[in-house]
Amino acid sequence: MDYQFQWRPVIQALPQLLEASLVTLQVSVLSMGLGLLMGLVLYFIRKSPILPLRAFATTWIEVARNTPSLFQIFIFYWGLGEFGIFLSPYVSVVAALSFNCAGYMAETYRGGFAAVPKGQNMAARTLGMTAWQSLRYVELPQVLRAIYHPMTNQFTWIILASSLGMLAGLRELSGETQYFNSRTFRTFEFFMAAAVIYYVITKIALLVLKAIGWNLFKAERAAK
């Protein structure tokens, strides 16, 4: 390969790339938060005795898990646009990623709840706890522990999937990289730099989540 690497254009663009990384991180955290909440709601709705609700949740989970995220982003951005609903790139991407995340998390919650023995709920109710108290103080803490690691995986996935946002015109890290690439034609340098930044962001996010987990599950470790 007859190519001289020039890193100066990348270094000059570094402030903008880092700023765009913040957008990536923002979008990811927001989508993850919304996805966690909606996923829990979906999990309960899916167990609902009311058929339409159940069908709604099942459809959501099936579509979210079995279609490409790229397609989901396009639907929120261009698909809704066909009906005159114009979401900004930022909103479209957050909506699509949380939609996707909720679908996956609903399944993860199912696994988490399945890991809590039925007797726990019964025991809690026998002790006079309401259904809500049993959920809040007995089951959810155990579910959280069970789903914590799958959840961190999901978060990594969201950070990386947010790069699809550039296809809806979002100037997150990939979009910004593409912008500088087409201005300077320093393709290899810019994409390598972006890959390194993604790696660092993901590693830091995982470390932070690990630290949080370490603190959250102190009691369990002590009991062992």
């Binding site: 390969m1 261009w78 646009g81 912008y179 690439n181 201005r183 034609f185």
Partner: protein, 275 residues
């Protein structure tokens, strides 16, 4: 020291030997002639310059120029379909020998790639929804204008806005491709899109979108494009330059322009300056 002197008589011999041993440098032009195939990187979603026809074969002015160049070199033409972003990686990784891909010759890009002399000139123009009331360029000032990211017209539009529309309440929305820009205009997501005059004439004539029309031409000058190749391939660039010169002189470029765009080929020279 004495040892060094002992062997110093060998120095001219070593020099001569190393010169003789140095491999003859085969440049890109040799490579193409020897391989018998000219591989051109062409962007195939930029009609009428490059696209795929009804039989899914590459077609367009850039494609025909590649074929003409290959014919004159006595080799086979091979079209390598690329996106805007893949043009340079395609050249550098050796997948193509030349990019004939309507590439604007900015100095920023010339820091990385080698440009030929111009072979085509575009104008920038606004694409409007059919019901738009915009008739002059400066009416775009406070509107949401869409443009494909990383294109020359994107940076030109931004620069023009910064210089002339300082109190603008409008915004510039960037899209990943030309097609996204057209779609956004047709949906009404943006009040106008910017693209090249040839592309706009093409998309307005095609029946993909019913509700769009051509708008005012941008005041920021012509978009002059050249072939691109690896920066240090001087011999190859010289050959390409001569080809463009001859293809213009003998009317080939005019014929292709008439076939794909219609009308008279724009002047490729810049008045008052040597290239």
């Amino acid at each position: 020291m004495s040892k060094l002197r002992t062997f110093s008589f060998l120095a001219p011999a070593i020099l001569a030997a190393s010169l003789a041993a140095a491999p003859a440098y085969a440049d890109k032009l040799d490579d193409v002639l020897n391989s018998g195939t000219l591989r051109c990187a062409v962007v195939l979603d930029f009609p009428p310059m490059g696209y795929t026809d009804a039989n899914n074969e590459p077609a367009g002015m850039d494609v025909d120029i590649c074929k003409d160049l290959a014919e004159r070199m006595g080799v086979e033409a091979e079209i390598v379909g690329v996106t805007w972003a893949e043009r340079i990686p395609s050249l550098i990784s050796g997948r193509s020998d030349v990019a004939i891909a309507s590439s604007s010759d900015s100095l920023e890009r010339a820091k990385t790639v080698g440009f030929s002399i111009p072979y085509m000139v575009f104008q920038f123009q606004a694409l409007l929804p059919a019901d738009s009331t915009v008739t002059s360029w400066d009416e775009l000032k406070d509107l949401n204008v869409g443009v494909a990211i990383g294109t020359t017209y994107e940076s030109e539009l931004q620069a023009y806005k910064d210089a002339n529309w300082t109190d603008s309440s409008g915004e510039i929305t960037t899209f990943q491709s030309e097609n996204d820009t057209y779609l956004a205009v047709s949906q009404g997501r943006v009040a106008a899109g910017i693209a090249t005059d040839t592309a706009i004439a093409n998309i307005v004539a095609a029946d993909t979108y019913q509700n769009i029309k051509a708008g005012p031409v941008a005041p920021f000058g012509a978009d002059i494009v050249g072939f691109m190749t690896v920066r240090n391939e001087y011999g190859w660039l010289n050959f390409l330059n001569l080809y463009i010169n001859r293809a213009y002189r003998d009317g080939t470029l005019q014929d292709l322009y008439g076939k794909h765009i219609g009308g008279t080929m724009p002047d490729l020279t810049t008045a008052g300056v040597y290239y």
